[in-house]
């Protein structure tokens, strides 16, 4: 991965070095999953669930997204999904819903920089 892409990803919220360490330096595998992250259905399903105020659906998708962001070293998104999940599990649905705009903003930023090649 060239320096430019690595820096761009870092600025958008992907800690590339940390992620590469987890992927044992396997760049191809990291890129594969970064792309998969962009096309993963969980994000759109989370938005739908939030519109319907479907708590179970939100827990399921937010949990999956949290896992992915953890593995792909996206600290901001990881933190947001962690907070959202905690809120959902303790019945604070409004708090969880209030996090949605911030989540969307961070998500779009990351996806945009991943897709740029």
């Amino acid at each position: 991965m060239d320096k430019q892409r690595s820096e761009m990803l870092y600025e958008s919220g992907v800690d590339v070095n940390d992620a590469l360490a987890r992927f044992m330096g396997n760049e191809a595998l990291l890129e594969k999953f970064l792309l998969k992250f962009c096309s993963d259905k969980n994000y759109s399903e989370l938005k739908d669930a939030a519109l319907r105020r479907d708590v179970d659906g939100m827990i399921r998708t937010s949990h999956s997204l949290k896992g992915m962001c953890g593995n792909l070293s996206m600290p901001k998104l990881f933190g947001l999904f962690t907070d959202q999940l905690t809120a959902l599990r303790s019945g604070k649905t409004e708090d969880a819903l209030r996090l949605m705009p911030q989540i969307s903003e961070e998500y779009d930023k990351v996806v945009k920089s991943i897709k740029k090649s």
Binding site: A21, R22, F23, M24, N26, L29, F33, K36, H63, S64, K66, G67, M68, G70, N71, L72, S73
Partner: protein
């Protein structure tokens, strides 16, 4: 790593996780050291484990999964008796929850936090797999050594019996009998102890030792002159007195065998040699012991000796038919015996009589 050499030498681990990134991440971490199988949920995972538990050296198990979660997999493994057979590592995003506690209670070796840190998870899993491998090696070595020891002990016991029988048979030859008499005394003693309440409270080893000791009941006859031992007619009272000393001389002889003194058989052998001619009514020899003063094994050998003598041809008599033997013993024509002993003896006499069928 030297383990990369061949497929056979490589251990295999099973990754059970519904999340593809996790599966691939773990695969990427472990594939240099292990063969990898993957399952997308607990159900598929447990099916693979149950199909061939020996296949896996470790299981990496995600806690939260659809269809069947990690805890359910652990419960199934527990039920299958696979706990502590295959080391399981729980992979979870939350360390201190009820799930982790229950997982530990169900026997997981370690909990690994997500997102995983490669060198850490690798180190932990390798250590435990190595531990299990060493434990397994040790267990199989101990099992091998145990069976080797048992084989050797059995061989020594056989050798002992062989030598003791040879000694007793050599003495038997002098009064024109084959070695079969001592073998039968051994078997009669063993059958009575094993099949009647007279053997209650005796261990398997004690029964074997008593039966072995019974073989030596007449060793004292080596000290009796040939003309008395082989005399076809009735003994004079002087001759009979000499004949009677085979009991005390037998015990003395056994005392001189240093190797025997250290063995479990010794006290039985001396007791039986000295007291197998005592009588329940106190009119036997050499000590005139009465009733329960005579050990039960000396009593058993005493009766076995009489039974065998009556059932076979001897220098001084022919073999008696079975009915006659039974009635002679029952009517006290060959000495008085403990009534309880007689009752036990008759309860197995059918089995004993088969020794004389040929």
């Amino acid at each position: 790593m030297d383990r990369l050499m061949s497929d056979e030498a490589m251990d295999r681990i099973l990754i059970i996780d519904d999340d593809e990134i996790n599966r691939e991440l773990l695969d990427n971490i472990f594939s240099a050291y292990y063969l990898i199988d993957k399952a997308e949920n607990g159900k598929i995972g447990i099916d693979r484990i149950e199909a061939d538990p020996d296949r896996y050296s470790a299981v990496l198990l995600d806690a939260m999964m659809p269809v069947m979660d990690g805890l359910e997999v652990l419960r199934r493994m527990e039920k299958d008796g696979l706990r502590n057979v295959i080391p399981v590592f729980l992979i979870t995003a939350e360390a201190s929850t009820d799930v982790t506690r229950e997982a530990y209670e169900l026997g997981v070796m370690d909990v690994i936090l997500k997102p995983v840190v490669p060198y850490l998870v690798l180190k932990r899993v390798n250590s435990i797999v190595e531990l299990f491998r060493a434990r397994k090696r040790l267990r199989s070595r101990v099992r091998m050594q145990e069976s080797e020891l048992i084989k050797r002990a059995r061989r020594i016991a056989e050798l002992n019996r062989g030598m003791i029988t040879a000694l007793a048979a050599a003495i038997e030859f002098r009064n024109g009998e084959s070695g079969e008499h001592v073998s039968r005394i051994h078997d009669i003693t063993e059958i009575i102890l094993r099949n009647t309440k007279l053997g209650d409270g005796l261990t398997e080893e004690e029964i074997m030792n008593i039966s072995l000791a019974s073989i030596m009941h007449d060793v004292g006859k080596i000290a009796i002159p040939d003309y008395i031992l082989s005399k076809p007619g009735r003994l004079t009272s002087e001759e009979y007195d000499i004949m009677k000393t085979h009991t005390t001389k037998g015990a003395q002889l056994l005392e001189t065998i240093h190797e025997l003194r250290g063995s479990e058989v010794y006290s039985y052998a001396c007791d039986i040699a000295r007291h197998h001619h005592e009588r329940w009514d106190g009119r036997g020899y050499p000590d005139g012991l009465k009733g329960d003063e005579i050990s039960i094994w000396a009593q058993i050998v005493s009766l076995a000796d009489v039974y065998d003598a009556l059932s076979c041809k001897r220098v001084y008599k022919d073999a008696f038919p079975r009915e006659k033997v039974i009635s002679m013993i029952r009517n006290g024509e060959c000495g008085t015996f403990n009534p309880q002993l007689l009752q036990c003896f008759f309860s197995v006499e059918d089995k004993l009589s088969r020794m004389y069928e040929n």
